[in-house]
């Protein structure tokens, strides 16, 4: 392994709904605070690593270059890495390998997101995360995939919404003690969460983290120079990352295998063999309340399906046996995507140095894990930090230095829109995607009322959506098969809002349909034509549009209805 790498400074902005500051300015505020925390100037920085998620938020193509000077990168080696929502925890991984490889001794890691620039609603940036050929025509929104995954998780373990709402309450209460928090709420109750607006069942308003603007920065240093900056370095003991298949509808959404793989990679590097005993504080990714539970299981901190019970019993409370998200997390502090992930690593830095103030967990934590997640429910990024037996810090010790006070200026919606000099610009990009050989034949089949699959002889799978290659065997697929347009509802949601969060007159029912005759194959589509509320496990059949209306599109299937029933609407 290369050089050991320490975190020697951290800083962040406030997380706000609409920041007056530009993305560059947010980056600068966080970077300057981190440098101040480390007690160094920009001249000591050898390289800059930037994490920021979709360009569509800021409305700038190649926004890494655009943000470079704000992040302190003018005149320096600079690179932007991203893995969707997992970016924030990946940014220090990028910094880690830059230092560990010997390319730099001091690296500034900056994660920024200014979501509010995206109008009319930042959710619009997520519309284009879906597959261009077979999903976007269904007009999905981001809530769909969370609702589908949450419902599957609840169904598999017989969970009630109340079990999950505990997380939202804990985290929003924890955030009261975070000076950067957007949504800390001391008196929130489970009943409040259960009474909040249903967005896409089972997701309700208070299950969700807020759209936010903000930035966070860390200073990393090699073992050769860390001692010259601080006598209390916090070491990066392990890093891990893992990306699952794009075909998210072919996975069982009940368990995040990719998080487990990333965690095992990080734990092995950190010599963590018993995570439940050796991890003292955890910052799992919590953009939705159920995700914290999902991720705690993927991080091997609780058995599958057992994290809700632990949350209910107070195990994950700040003063519990395993404090989880003492920061307040994305649900309470806010969720400027990449910045939110890095905030979790910064929280571990402060917790392990005894500098977390009112958020400080009891005892003397020596090791913590931070994790982020993203893409199409697909990526896990994990960092293990530890003090390596360095100078002991406890909650009762006065911190050697308080973290710099976070700042950023929040605007209300009217002030934001009326800001002098505000520039409106519409993205006028246009694309004509080539579906390619495999998907092209699939679409041709739909026009004929047939569902085509490809077959891999090596693993024996029958694949829908079809592909020219088997992603597991990494070889060309061997042929084609027709499969029936019938199947089972793997999970579904009742969605009440459009992509811009405006209410729908009638709810829509997105579902993952597992098709008969496939190997866990299927796709995202809509349910319709039912009289009783759908159920997971319900058998369904495709309702085809009339042949003259078909165009070779996923919309050639109008929806899926309960098998054996007459067409409805």
């Amino acid at each position: 392994m290369g050089k050991r790498v320490a975190v020697v400074g951290a800083g962040m902005t406030r997380f706000v709904r609409r920041a007056e500051e530009t993305g560059k300015e947010l980056s600068w505020i966080a970077a300057a605070a981190a440098l101040e925390s480390a007690g160094i100037g920009l001249d000591r920085v050898d390289a800059v690593c930037l994490g920021t998620a979709p360009d569509a938020f800021d409305g700038v193509h190649r926004k890494g270059d655009y943000l470079a000077d704000g992040a302190g990168a003018w005149g320096k080696p600079f690179m932007r890495a991203y893995v969707g929502g997992g970016t924030g925890v990946f940014t220090p991984i990028q910094g880690w390998y830059t230092v560990a490889s010997g390319m730099a001794d001091v690296v500034l890691c900056v994660a920024e997101e200014k979501m509010s620039s995206c109008r009319p609603h930042p959710q619009g940036a997520f519309v284009t995360i879906f597959d261009d050929i077979i999903e976007r025509p269904l007009e999905p929104n981001l809530l769909w995939i969370f609702a589908l995954e949450m419902h599957r998780y609840m169904h598999a373990y017989g969970l009630e919404k109340r079990d999950i709402a505990e997380v939202a309450v804990k985290n929003k209460r924890n955030a009261v003690d975070h000076p950067a928090a957007l949504l800390g709420q001391a008196d929130l109750t489970v009943d409040d969460v259960l009474a909040s607006e249903v967005l896409a069942w089972p997701v309700q308003r208070l299950d969700v983290s807020p759209i936010s603007d903000g930035a966070v920065a860390l200073v990393l240093a090699s073992e050769d120079v860390a001692g010259s900056m601080t006598d209390r370095p916090v070491w990066i003991q392990g890093v891990g990352w893992n990306l699952d298949t794009t075909y998210w509808t072919n996975r069982d959404l009940v368990y995040p295998e990719y998080v487990e793989h990333a965690a095992r990679m990080a734990y092995e590097m950190a010599d963590v063999t018993e995570p439940r005993r050796q991890i003292h504080v955890a910052e799992p990714y919590d953009p939705f309340d159920y995700k914290e539970l999902h991720h705690l299981e993927g991080l091997l901190l609780f058995d599958k399906g057992k994290a809700p019970e632990a949350a209910r019993d107070g195990v994950t409370a700040r003063d519990g046996d395993l404090p989880c998200t003492p920061s307040g997390g994305l649900l309470g502090v806010g969720n400027p995507i990449a910045a939110a992930g890095l905030m979790k690593v910064a929280e571990l830095f402060w917790q392990l140095r005894g500098e977390a103030g009112g958020r400080q967990v009891p005892g003397t934590p020596e090791r913590g894990v931070a994790q982020a997640w993203g893409d199409l429910m697909q990526v896990g990024t994990v960092v293990v930090l530890g003090t390596d037996g360095g100078p002991a810090t406890t909650a009762s010790d006065p911190p050697a230095s308080a973290p710099p006070a976070p700042r950023a200026t929040a605007l209300d919606d009217a002030a934001f829109l009326a800001a002098p000099g505000a520039v409106d610009a519409a993205f006028d990009g246009s694309y004509r995607w080539d579906p390619g050989a495999a998907m092209g034949r699939f679409l041709d089949g739909l026009a004929e009322g047939v569902v085509h699959a490809t077959v891999c002889d090596a693993c024996g799978r029958t694949l829908v959506p079809p592909r020219a290659f088997c992603e597991r065997c990494f070889r060309p697929t061997d042929g084609w098969a027709e499969v029936p347009a019938t199947g089972v509802v793997e999970t579904y949601s009742r969605c009440h809002v459009a992509w811009d969060m405006q209410p729908l007159d009638e709810p829509r029912y997105p579902a993952v349909i597992r098709l008969d005759g496939t190997s866990q194959g299927g796709f995202l589509h809509l349910l319709g034509g039912f009289t009783d509320e759908p159920t997971i496990g319900m058998r369904v059949e495709a309702v085809w549009r009339p042949p003259q209306e078909r165009t070779g599109s996923i919309l050639d299937i109008a929806w899926f209805r309960p098998a054996g029933e007459e067409a409805g609407s």
Partner: protein
């Protein structure tokens, strides 16, 4: 540098103006399959980490890294995206191996420019939204500004640049990747003094390189091409603050790469440098200290002017050309130099040697 890194596999696909009937996934699968076959590795078990290089708006997909693992053999493996040219991905691969977290890394970059109807409008979206975009200027105008500054500062002429374009297209005629001999478009003005014949045309293609630690005695690959030095650099992102006649990013990236390789520019006997505009080749050779290198040894592949503008895959195409030449014994020390394209002021450099 610490751990010695070798290029043990190389694969490509496309390199044509359009690739109808082939999706970007299928384009990537073809290039990756060739690279793994060349390296003799099974990506499912023998590649430790994967680096893909792309930008969302080039693809028309937010968070494009979602769509890369399957066709690279990277499902449930460490994969991340570098939002930059593919040569930055090579730098990343070198760092991953140097850190010890990986022994073998696959690096990918591609262009499916033919999927993008409005390439120019997407480039324009890279301009500062407050100061520059409202002016309504096309990004290619920045190339005109830069070219004029370069000619003014160095005494070079438009004809010198035209000679570069002509020579590179001639070089491409002996490049087996270039199916049809490139012809220069009519020299209609783009942004004076830049004309269309001196600009590369968009093309589709994908390049995958497989890198591996070269210091595992007995079990490691027998390197024929090693990566001895890397550098990457960001100059002023704002138009108002940057140098217009010099490629400062390239000067510093090359200086770092030479320093890490322990060589001087005079040691380089083969160069593949970004030439999306003919003047950029001259500017980049100045930055690399290679202005006097035999023109026959510069972009012998034809460069982007000959092979086509592969967008974020341009740098990887330059590296691929170096690997092929070094493997063939046509040179001992090569420099690959990438620029991120308009309107950026960042670049990366990689020094490679025949082992």
């Amino acid at each position: 540098m610490g751990t010695r890194v070798a290029v043990v596999g190389a694969g490509w696909s496309g390199f044509t103006a359009t690739t109808p009937g082939v999706s970007y996934k299928e384009l990537m699968f073809a290039a990756a399959s060739r690279a793994y076959e060349d390296a003799g590795v099974d990506p499912r078990t023998q590649v430790d980490s994967f680096v893909a290089c792309s930008e969302d708006l080039e693809e028309g997909t937010s968070i494009f890294d979602e769509y890369v693992p399957d066709q690279l053999g990277a499902v449930q493996r460490p994969v991340h995206t570098i939002a930059a040219d593919g040569l930055f991905g090579v730098v990343t691969g070198v760092m991953l191996i140097g850190s010890g977290v990986a022994r073998t890394v696959a690096v990918e970059a591609h262009s499916k420019a033919s999927d993008v109807v409005s390439l120019g409008r997407i480039d324009r979206f890279a301009l500062d939204p407050v100061l520059n975009r409202p002016l309504g200027i096309a990004p290619v105008a920045l190339a005109g500004l830069e070219m004029r500054a370069l000619l003014e500062a160095t005494g070079r002429t438009v004809e010198d640049c035209a000679e570069v374009a002509s020579r590179n297209r001639d070089h491409a005629r002996s490049n087996p990747r270039v199916a049809d001999p490139p012809t220069a478009p009519p020299p209609h003005p783009l942004a004076d003094p830049l004309t269309a014949d001196q600009a590369a045309e968009p093309a589709d293609g994908c390049v995958v390189l497989v890198l591996a630690a070269a210091d595992e005695s007995g079990t490691g690959p027998a390197p024929t091409v090693t990566i001895d030095g890397v550098g990457w650099h960001q100059d002023a992102p704002s138009l108002e603050s940057r140098s217009w006649d010099r490629a400062v990013y390239a000067e510093r990236a090359c200086a770092d790469a030479y320093r890490r390789a322990g060589i001087a520019p005079a040691d380089v006997d083969l160069a593949e440098v970004d030439d999306r505009f003919a003047y950029k080749q001259l500017q980049h050779l100045d930055a690399a200290g290679l202005a006097d290198l035999d023109p026959a040894r510069v972009n012998a592949s034809g460069g982007a002017l000959g092979e086509g503008d592969l967008r974020e895959a341009n740098g990887l195409a330059r590296a691929l050309a170096c690997v092929e030449r070094l493997r063939a014994g046509d040179g001992a020390t090569a420099l690959a130099l990438a620029w991120r394209g308009l309107p950026s002021s960042s670049g990366a450099a990689v020094v490679m040697r025949r082992g």
